[in-house]
Subunit: 330 residues, 2 copies
């Protein structure tokens, strides 16, 4: 709860702060934590080896670890240390993100063969195991959050708040609902929802697009920042600021994702580029045009930085991450 | 925590205790609770109507509500009242059970068209929505358990224990892992796991069968009894007794399920009977023979009743439920 009394100015990251070593270090801590959670040579967990192998495959396929890093950075921004409890909360978010990718990639959903440059889970393990691996990762997130060691380190009342935060964001009112809206807004032929009733009658507008993305990706990104702030011991005031930050970078992240789908190269993205267009997915460039999308991205980043004004130098990593989201190439 | 001092004798349900009105009443309370959780005319939950309709469809398809009733009966057995917190814990178990049925029925898994006498979720809503409805129900279970109202009614430390209990039982070391083992033990042609490596080399033995079922159905049934006992305020001693009870009826339930698959009629079961045999699923009658299966069932019930010896008349419903499991027709 250490916070500077004098509010810092909203500004781009200070040249003195080096984001890359920060990201590398925090990612590495998350990777080590996840590695210990599902070790390559399972000791005596009692779980069937195939399910652990399938869960581990997608978890270790080298994501950006954006959500756990955001959670850690938010905890640090309010004066929290990178404890085992903070890493547990952070890693639970990556478990949920990874499960959602496995299920989204299934033939009945987006039907993707490639993810992060590797064959998708069902391509390697088959559909049945992929569905179960997703179910297992989602459940493991809540199992991890409620472990006795975490409950000893975090006030149990606050821990329950964190669980609630993450569950609401990832459920049918959040991420799961957003994926359904996204499928419904896509070209009918691209998914199993192709009946005349569910096919969109007209191209969707900006408000509908924003609703999809606020749920599909925005909710969990916002929850990552909030859960990190909660486990770090945020005051109510800091929590409000960080919620606004999380909301804004969630939107920024999605706009950038859509822009990269138009502009990026396949090698950089590790997946088939322009696959959104091919599938008739609604994107910001498709709805607003590329230039207006870039302006909207800049505005979202500006709002994110504005939300951090009252947080001091400890929020420097969060400021730098906002900048990184707007400039990433993949 | 009220418990009679004098232990009652292990015995079949007293003739004075009427199970049917008890089950009807407790089921009705669970049904009302679930109905309010996902109302037919959603108010302003913000969730897409389709996902709520799909979740509601399977949830209201009229199951036995065995897991929530067990949780309530366990809470009552240790002197707990049927509070909103008890109903929340009980209902979360039905949400998880229902999600597991939706996913198990998918074409990539057991490929079932009929469940509880109705078309399966993916037959009505399509595969994509069925996968998401399952994901939504699983997440809703943890969302429900961590609601502020529940956290105010149950000591947060105990609530976290309950969440842990349920998460461990339903995850890859429990139910999800059991479903994978079950698919692997089935005839390769019946599922997507038909590579020579994963096909069983020989019919499985009793130990392997018990391992599958302890995970696939036993773990969540045991967790239902334990979670109910925890929210009801069980002492450590009562919790140990009830764990043994839960384990034994979990096994009994599965043996009976397998026996009914051989002996039951389609009308009574509401699903295609002998479908286990058709799919080459391993069952107790197939591994042990019908008579030995019935003996094993009787022994499990005896163990369940024995575990309740130290609990008083408040455990009468649990005793009656053990008897019911061994005599049910569907």
């Amino acid at each position: 709860m250490r916070q500077t009394m004098k509010p810092a100015r909203s500004k781009p990251p200070a040249p003195s702060f080096e984001l890359k070593p920060y990201l590398d270090d925090r990612r590495e801590r998350v990777n080590r934590f996840l590695d210990a959670l599902l070790p390559a040579t399972p000791a005596r967990s009692g779980a069937p080896p195939t399910i652990e192998a399938a869960m581990r495959y997608s978890l270790s396929a080298g994501g950006k670890r954006l959500r756990p890093v955001l959670a850690i950075a938010a905890a640090e921004a309010v004066g929290g240390k990178i404890s085992a409890a903070v890493l547990s909360v952070a890693s639970s978010l990556e478990l949920i993100h990874t499960y959602s990718l496995i299920h989204d990639d299934l033939p009945a959903m987006d039907n993707d063969d490639l993810r992060r440059g590797l064959p998708t889970n069902h391509k390697v393990f088959g559909e049945a195991t992929a569905i179960l691996a997703g179910d297992g990762l989602l459940t493991l997130a809540f199992e991890l959050l409620s472990r006795p060691a975490v409950a000893r380190a975090v006030a149990p009342r606050r821990l329950v708040e964190i669980i609630q935060e993450i569950a609401v964001a990832s459920g049918h009112q959040g991420m799961v609902g957003g994926q359904l809206l996204d499928l419904q807004a896509s070209r009918p032929a691209a998914n199993g929802l192709g009946s005349p009733q569910t096919a969109p009658q007209a191209p969707i507008d900006e408000a509908a697009l924003e609703r999809i993305h606020r749920k599909k990706t925005g909710a969990l990104i916002r929850a990552s920042v909030r859960a990190g702030a909660l486990v770090g011991g945020a005051s109510s005031a800091a929590l409000i600021s960080l919620s606004r930050y999380g909301e804004s970078i969630g939107l920024a992240f999605q706009i950038m994702d859509d822009i990269l789908d138009v502009e990026g190269t396949s090698a950089e993205m590790g997946k088939t580029v322009k696959s959104d267009q091919t599938k008739g997915k609604s994107t910001y460039p498709a709805v607003l045009g590329l230039e207006a999308s870039k302006r909207k991205l800049a505005q979202a980043i500006e709002r994110a930085l504005g939300a951090l004004v009252r947080l001091g130098p400890a929020a420097e990593p969060l400021r730098a991450i906002a900048g990184y989201i707007a400039s990433r190439r993949a």
